[in-house]
Point group: C2
Chain length 301, copies 2
């Protein structure tokens, strides 16, 4: 197993419980997240994508710090760090680098994408959410549904704050960030995740439609935002948006469990989507293109 | 009664039911909001503040339009337009004009503030919100709690989108908007409204503390954002922030119903706050200062 001590320290000990450790209560001590440890602990040698994930986690730990009062920041830390990693964040960094930008230019946006996802994930659990199903009896709860709901709502503005506070204050910096904020707001709102959740309420909606509006849209915006922040051309931005959307759909479909024949259809659809995706990478040059192609295969994403 | 036909048309007929009218279902037809009609229909002659409110309502109707699918945009319109008006939006416009800016420069931010408030208001109703109280039996519901909750969450990103998409694309325009986005995110999040709601969950918290974090903070950011967008100096921005905070506290305290002796203390506190507020207006010149002083007295705010 190719796991360095460094990685082990960074991602915590998987035997730790899924609760914030006591450090969380001490102001300005960063929270270590045990919940996502297994993802990097797989047998894959740390790669381009693992390094991106690590940088995003690191940035998240720097910006989401324990503050007073603990009644607010303890559940905040818990829910931010126990939400699964969403690969739209890595897509954002990779798209920035693909168009010739530096990783740091997209780091705040990538962190904001992960926070937007963590917010939706946190809001999913309480009884009486989108599904209208009370699953209070089956879900292991750390906090009451009122705390969980409030925290879920409170996570998203942090993403906007980090993003708005991130730029280099040059003319192009402010303008790019402003543009990225519009993209993020749409990924979150009724054209994106919330719209997808509304669709899910309709009984006749196909799972694919929901996945396109949620994971598809989040990854599409991730790709576009990365390309915007890395200084890509309009054509490159749109290619990264399309590539992102397809990647998001593949990721969403892969996670979704279908029964019988539907599963066969899902595998076909994924194959079809991958072929479409690679067409969007035509015209880009350099080593980064190969890495972008590997997006689908790295299981840590 | 000094009500022009124009005003009557703009604010709808108060005898209409509190539901979206059928126009809402037709794309690109603006929604007319009956719910807030009584506020402007009072016996006060339309003033500086009434005109500001009218402009904000008008802008809101231009940006929140009926679109497909109705399953998403019908509840969205309903909740945006039936939420009470929050005076932090008017504070934003007035602060912009006080520092020499034009109303249009602050209009998107004012609209975003009203949307942030409408979002919190919408999220308050479902059972299992901040208070943890199920009031399903007493609240008149138009939509199920899952729809109401999702809509509440979906309203806030629209505010960010409008704001981010609003600026004149000049260097100072982008930079001011970027700065305003940070203020807005904080007004919404754990340093603002959400933080106040968390405080409210603690039984020992004084009502004043909650009001300072919710209404106080929203109006403080309203004042600061208006001054930023109007091109005010740092000193002016901070004065408008302080003035806004006090106005917000007065507004919040006025709405809050206390019993017996507490009510007497509330009146004293409001008197004290007003005296403090007027000190923040020292140094400003022109007719707009008088109007700003009248903020407390116009009942439409």
């Amino acid at each position: 197993m190719a796991i360095s001590l460094n990685l082990l320290q960074l991602h915590g000990n998987p035997s730790l419980p899924k609760f914030p450790n006591s450090n969380w209560l001490r102001p300005a001590v960063y929270f270590r997240a045990p919940a996502r440890a297994t993802v990097v602990m797989s047998q894959i040698t740390p790669s381009y994508w693992a390094a991106i994930n690590e940088d995003i986690d690191d940035h998240l730990r720097r910006v989401i710090i324990a503050k007073d009062p603990p009644a607010v920041y303890e559940p905040l830390g818990h829910f931010v760090f126990s939400a699964p990693r969403n690969s739209a964040a890595a897509m954002c960094i990779a798209a920035c680098e693909l168009v010739g930008g530096h990783r740091d230019q997209a780091m705040a946006a990538a962190t904001a994408l992960q926070l937007i996802y963590a917010a939706t994930y946190t809001r999913e659990y309480p009884p009486l959410t989108a599904r209208g199903i009370s699953n209070a009896a089956v879900v292991d709860r750390v906090y009451g549904p009122n705390i969980q709901l409030l925290t879920g709502v409170g996570i998203a503005p942090i993403g906007f704050e980090i993003l708005a506070g991130s730029c280099d204050l040059s003319e192009s910096g402010s303008e790019r960030v402003r543009r990225v904020m519009v993209e993020m707001a749409r990924a979150m709102g009724s054209e994106g995740w919330i719209g997808g959740q509304f669709k899910e309420l309709e009984e006749v909606t196909a799972a694919e439609e929901v996945i396109e509006m949620t994971e598809g849209e989040l990854h599409a915006r991730g790709g576009a935002c990365g390309a915007i922040l890395g200084g890509g051309s309009e054509e490159e931005i749109e290619k990264m948006r399309k590539y992102g959307r397809i990647v998001g759909m593949v990721k969403g479909l892969s996670k979704k469990v279908f029964g019988g024949k539907e599963n066969e259809r899902k595998r076909e659809k994924i194959k079809e989507l991958k072929a479409l995706a690679f067409k969007e990478l035509e015209g880009f040059k350099g080593q980064k293109v190969d890495q972008m192609c590997n997006f689908f295969d790295f299981e840590g994403l």
